[in-house]
């Protein structure tokens, strides 16, 4: 069972690291509370892996402060190290060892006894659905199985903090969903998780999302908060009769609670209405439209823009601000 603490597990304050080639990360500041999933999202080469490596102590920052469990990772001793489970970007387990032997090796390297390992391996193989591949060599596992084996090996010693560097890269959407199910279950068990991913849509599975671009942290927020930031508020999707559309748009824009109204591209009669609080505003808007124009919109719902759009808008906003 994971021990719960209230103080942040990870704290990064204005961290900078520049490599010889001029790349690196700058101005990183965020924290991670216990029992939460933090997703670090951004395109390839934006600094996600560097951030994770700073958290493991593989990299030492040029300036700023990195604290994991209240210590600088470079000063970790054995008791600190066994609190962390790490899943690197590539499969680094051994092709000529079978699934079970790979797990025994990893467990052994964390000092677990044979008895402890046996019990834990049985549980974890079930957890990652690799029971049938127990005796299969690493080189004969599919890409998805290798990812799950890496996850199992990182969980073997029951760490409090899991650092997973792109654990879903290169695997199919169904398997990605399964991997995320595993992470959600781990969060429910009290584990804290930092995951990097290129798939912007996976932000929806996280408690907090850190968006990175060109070595900088664009923002850190909840998925909803990110949407709000990107869209400038919450969005209501309406579909109404075309003949009234311009009148209704004008009417809506005149309302104080409405921030912005846009036609939906490619949808006849479709409107996006931006408000501060969609849940509160939706019934009010519907009532007003029926009262004013005597029509009932064919669609009236709170719209959750996909994170791809959110990410694009966020980046556009950052660039505009810059």
């Amino acid at each position: 069972m994971v021990v719960q603490t209230t103080s942040p597990i990870i704290e990064m304050k204005d961290v900078n690291l520049t490599f010889d080639n001029g790349r690196g990360v700058s101005g990183l500041s965020f924290h991670l509370d216990p029992g939460t999933i933090l997703g670090i999202i951004g395109p390839s080469g934006c600094g996600k892996t560097t951030t994770v490596r700073l958290l493991t102590g593989i990299y030492t920052p040029d300036s700023g402060e990195v604290c994991v469990f209240g210590k600088h990772p470079a000063n970790f001793q054995e008791p600190d190290k066994i609190r962390i489970g790490y899943i690197p970007q590539s499969f680094i387990l051994y092709p000529y060892l079978n699934t079970e032997e790979n797990l025994h090796f990893m467990g052994g390297s964390y000092g677990m006894s044979l008895k402890e390992r046996k019990a834990r391996i049985n549980t974890l193989l079930d957890f990652v659905e690799l029971e049938e591949a127990r005796k299969r060599l690493g080189k004969h596992l599919s890409g998805g199985m290798q990812r799950r084996l890496m996850l199992a090996s990182a969980l073997l010693h029951n760490p409090e903090l899991i650092l997973a560097d792109e654990p879903t890269a290169g695997i199919d959407p169904i398997l990605r969903a399964r991997v995320w199910d595993n992470f959600k279950r781990l969060r429910e068990e009290g584990h804290s998780i930092v995951i990097t991913t290129q798939y912007v849509g996976e932000a929806a599975y996280c408690d907090y999302v850190a968006v990175m671009r060109e070595g900088k942290l664009v923002t850190v927020d909840t998925p909803e908060g990110l949407r709000r930031q990107a869209m400038g508020g919450e969005v209501i999707h309406l579909k109404i009769e075309r003949k009234n559309i311009f009148e209704i748009m004008k009417y809506l824009m005149d309302r104080r609670s409405v921030l912005k109204v846009e036609q939906v591209e490619g949808e006849k009669g479709g409107l996006y209405v931006y408000v501060k609080n969609a849940g509160r505003e939706l019934p009010r808007l519907l009532g007003s439209i029926r009262e004013q124009f005597d029509i009932i919109p064919r669609i009236a719902e709170r719209y959750q823009p996909p994170f791809d759009d959110v990410f694009v808008r966020l980046v556009q906003r950052i660039e505009e601000e810059a």
């Binding site: 102590g57 680094i92 390297s109 677990m112």
Partner: protein
């Protein structure tokens, strides 16, 4: 402590499982050297290279020498493929690569010998290999030595035959001189002059036929010298005697007459000795006497077997060691090990013991297979296994060092092959270490094979414990290489991944 052992054991078991899943690797490393040695034993005939030779024999022949014996003599050392009368034709064959050596026998070979000159047998080769050239020169030297000896033997035989004739003529001369002492009549004077002349001719021929004796001191050569000087003294006495007879003063020189007679008696006994000497004893009075106190020497296959075993151990250990760390580095495992509570000694000790198990199994299997080739087992098995362990440890140290400095597996393989090449040249495996200048000694001493080979030969062939320098050498290599590996890996663990 339990956790420390668990971590080390996990590396040990990981390596054991990984290698056992690659049986072809182990099989090739054990069966490969055995079959190479077996093939060597089954097909190797001689370490002396074979040189295709053409003999240039003059069309008119060589007076005093028969072609057959000369061809037979050449066949002893060279592969005589053709006999041609023309030197240019032979040179053409050499130019076109049909032969390796040309030997030209001059038509006036014996005539020159008889004139007291030193004729030459011309030998031409187109060797590019310095070893081959040394072999040709050595074989040619041997061939000419045999030819010289045959000529001397023939000449000695002729001298001994001549000496038998002389003995008869000396007796006649002695009788004539004895009669001259008693009664000198004109008939006897004439008969004496004739006997003296005949004896003079015979003795002159004997001196000419007496073989030149070697300069080395020896009983046989001293006797031939005595015979030569005594014969020359008698010749001068006979000239004086002839003068006395001619001048008519012989009646007053009876004392000299008896003295000549006595000398002739002495010469007769010297000639007796000369006649009864075997010609071989006169021409080549010294012959070698060789004894190998170990009894029969080993066959080349048996002799090389300990070296092959030591080379297998070194190569297997270096290969496993060289690939071990570089593979982990390339896979990204080092990143994982840095984050896990793993320390470098866990990694190195675990791998060392795992590889030692495989090297030990491989060497035991090869040693057993070598028994099939009648290679003797070590007399002291405890020392034998200790030697294998230390050789393995030293070689693994070199392998880990290669791994620690290599950036890729191909680089590690190249360095491994370089060590193999160095070992074959500088360990005493094929070329004796005494043939190298002092400058090469550091290279030879840092090779585990140099010490392992010596130890294996002493244990398996000589049957005595290896020299202390063997143990010291291996221990120093192991300690030095492991220390360097720990230092480099420690640095590599700390180094930022860029």
């Amino acid at each position: 402590m339990r956790a420390w052992l668990t971590r080390t054991l996990s590396f040990f078991l990981k390596e054991i499982h990984e290698i056992r899943r690659q049986p072809k690797l182990i099989l090739s490393l054990i069966a490969g050297p055995f079959f190479v040695l077996a093939l060597f034993g089954a097909t190797f005939e001689s370490s002396r290279p074979s040189f295709r030779t053409v003999l240039v024999w003059p069309e008119e022949g060589v007076p005093g020498v028969q072609q057959g014996p000369i061809e037979f003599l050449i066949q002893r050392n060279f592969d005589l493929v053709a006999v041609v009368p023309d030197r240019d034709e032979a040179m053409q064959m050499l130019e076109e690569g049909d032969v390796d050596v040309v030997q030209v026998i001059p038509s006036d070979l014996i005539a020159k010998v008889e004139r007291g000159e030193r004729p030459e047998i011309e030998v031409v080769s187109h060797a590019v290999d310095p070893t081959a050239e040394s072999w040709i020169q050595s074989l040619m030297f041997n061939q000419v030595n045999i030819l010289n000896r045959l000529l001397l033997l023939e000449r000695t035989g002729q001298a001994q035959e001549q000496a038998v004739t002389i003995k008869v003529e000396m007796r006649d001369a002695q009788n004539t001189l004895s009669e001259l002492e008693v009664n000198l009549t004109p008939e006897r004077k004439e008969q004496a002059e004739s006997s003296i002349q005949t004896l003079q001719n015979a003795l002159t021929l004997l001196i000419a036929l007496l073989p030149p004796v070697p300069e080395e001191e020896g009983d046989m050569s001293a006797r031939v010298d005595t015979l030569r000087s005594e014969t020359m003294l008698i010749l001068s006495d006979l000239i004086r005697l002839q003068e006395m007879i001619e001048s008519g003063t012989i009646e007053t020189e009876t004392e000299r007459l008896s003295s000549i007679n006595e000398r002739l008696s002495g010469l007769e006994s010297t000639i007796d000795i000369f006649i009864n000497l075997p010609p071989e004893a006169i021409v080549a009075p010294i012959q070698p006497s060789y004894l190998n106190v170990r009894g029969q020497p080993f066959s080349l296959v048996v002799y090389y077997a300990p070296g092959v075993l030591a080379l297998l151990i070194q190569h297997l250990a270096i290969t496993l060691g060289a690939m071990a760390l570089v593979r982990e580095k390339l896979m990204g495992s080092f990143e994982m090990f840095r984050i896990a509570p793993v320390k470098i000694p866990h990694l190195i000790i675990g791998k060392t013991f795992a590889y030692s198990v495989y090297v030990f199994v491989a060497s035991a299997a090869l040693a057993f297979l070598l028994r099939l080739l009648n290679v003797p087992f070590a007399s002291d098995m405890l020392l034998f296994f200790l030697l294998i362990f230390l050789l393995t440890l030293a070689s693994l140290g070199i392998g880990f060092l290669i791994s620690a400095v290599s950036g890729s597996d191909s680089q590690a393989i190249q360095l491994t092959m370089l060590v193999l090449l160095l070992s074959i040249f500088f360990s005493g495996f094929f070329l004796p270490l005494s043939g190298f200048r002092e400058l090469a000694m550091p290279v030879t001493l840092i090779l585990p094979l140099t010490h392992g080979l010596r130890g294996m030969q002493e244990l398996m062939l000589v049957g005595r414990p290896p020299d202390p320098s063997v143990w010291i050498g291996l221990i120093l290599i192991a300690v030095g290489s492991y220390s360097l590996v720990l230092f480099l890996l420690h640095r590599s663990f700390k180094k930022v991944i860029s």
